[in-house]
């Protein structure tokens, strides 16, 4: 046996349990197997069952006599079957019985093989050892498969985590240039997800699509990396020329994302490009860069643009102070930040108290840190 493939958890059992009320019979059987196996003996079914039920992992086979005073072999078989042990530990009935009734009943109760007494050594050895080998190989294989499976899952989770982490880091790095604290992308992600999960805007999307869209929302402003510091960090109002440059962060963002082949291969890609390009479009066509109108703008881009505005208003920015929550909502509803889809606006107002709770929680978290 190859010991290197085994650990405590996956140890392959190597003990044969011999159950017979005559110690002469037990010793003869033990003598056959004691070179290659550990041997345990029990003089009746009660003792044997107690052993097996306490440590089922330890036994690789049970050799069972039929006629015993306390709990005979057939009764013990029934108990082993009920405890689900018979599928994992092969049971051999060793009997002087010649009637086919007992044999038939034993097979019906899940016995692996019936061996006649007086035993013929090489027959017993051969039959018992090949079944043990089969069971051990099967068990070893199941351990290997199980190990590989959990390893694959672990790695997949690691990769997903890494991806998310890198996307967040990249987006946060860009935000820092912008003079932000780093919480903006996180909040946009959370609002987007809340909107899709809690309102009818997410109807028809799978949980996975919602996750993908939320992840894509994090990348809405990556194009800002191409905007000069002087414009990005300007404390006051931008000149019309500066604003034209600023507006290009949408197109630049989409272009950047399209150059990441690894991203292209994922389902996040389409959402990320769409959101990067269109999160400044407005319902009435008054936005940029394409002046899309109404349903021409995807629902996720509409959600991110509203979330972006709400977050910008309620937080302090390099070019403005933070507005109160009430003032921010009033400005949005009065169209001071452009026109939004009435349905999206209505959905947002419905979940806005939750968003506010979330903000307070994040703030408390930030203060603690």
């Amino acid at each position: 046996m190859d010991a290197t493939h085994e650990n405590a958890e996956h140890a392959i059992s190597n003990t044969i349990l011999i159950v017979d009320d005559e110690d002469i019979n037990r010793e003869i059987l033990a003598n056959l197997f004691e070179d290659e196996f550990q041997i345990e003996e029990a003089e009746n079914g009660v003792v044997a069952l107690q052993k097996v039920l306490t440590r089922p992992q330890e036994y690789c086979a049970i050799l069972l006599d039929v006629v015993m005073d306390q709990m005979d072999g057939l009764q013990m078989l029934e108990h082993l079957g009920k405890a689900g042990i018979i599928e994992h530990v092969p049971v051999f009935l060793i009997t002087a019985e010649t009637s086919s009734d007992v044999t038939k009943e034993a097979y019906e109760r899940g016995v692996m093989d019936v061996i006649r007494k007086p035993i013929v050594p090489f027959v017993v050895k051969r039959r018992v050892e090949s079944v043990i080998e089969l069971f051990q190989a099967r068990r070893r294989l199941s351990y290997v498969v199980e190990d590989q499976r959990s390893e694959l899952i672990r790695r997949a989770e690691q990769i997903i985590e890494l991806n998310r982490g890198m996307i967040e880091s990249l987006s946060t790095a860009i935000e820092f240039r912008d003079g932000e604290s780093g919480g903006h992308v996180r909040r946009i992600h959370d609002i987007t997800k809340l909107m899709l999960l809690r309102t009818e805007l997410g109807d028809g999307l799978t949980a996975r699509q919602v996750d993908d869209i939320a992840l894509a929302s994090i990348m809405h402003d990556v194009g800002k990396i191409a905007i000069p510091d002087a414009i990005l960090g300007k404390p006051g109002r931008l000149t019309p020329e500066e604003f034209e440059v600023m507006k290009t962060h949408t197109i630049q963002g989409e272009r950047m994302l399209s150059r990441i082949p690894q991203l292209r291969a994922t389902d996040v890609y389409e959402y990320a490009c769409d959101i990067a390009r269109h999160h400044h479009e407005r319902w009435d066509g008054g936005g940029y860069p394409d002046g899309l109108k109404g349903d021409e703008i995807s629902i996720w881009s509409q959600i991110v643009s509203l979330a972006d505005v709400y977050d910008a208003l309620t937080n302090k920015r390099v070019y403005k102070a933070a507005f109160s929550r009430e003032e921010s909502l009033r400005m949005i509803q009065d169209g001071e930040c452009g026109v939004f889809n009435p349905l999206v606006l209505e959905c947002f107002l419905r979940i806005e108290p939750d968003v506010n709770d979330l903000y307070e929680a994040l703030q408390a978290e930030g203060a603690e840190a």
């Binding site: 005559e22 002087a96 007494k117 050594p121």
Partner: protein
Amino acid sequence: MNREALEAGGVDVQGALDRMMGNEKLLARLLGKFLDDKSFEHLEAAFASQDAEAALNTAHTLKGVAGNLSVTTVYELAGRQCDLLRAGSPDEAAALMPQLGEAYRAAQDAIRTGV
């Protein structure tokens, strides 16, 4: 180990040794245990109290032990008793008792001298 004495007492020594993978010491020890085995006494008691079920169980046990030790005379007679008892003929089974007793004692004597 005196093979001739054992064989005269109904013990197939070679058969028994084969079953013990040639382990003579084990055979000697287990034959010694056969002297202390109570199956035959239990069988007598079962017939005395006319308990056919107990008789079948004990005859079955005796058959198993005698068979494993290749005490062939006892094994065959106990086996015949099992068949008769299972066939519902306890009287015919009981009638084999003197013959079985003789074989059993002969085997015991042979073991005492031969081991």
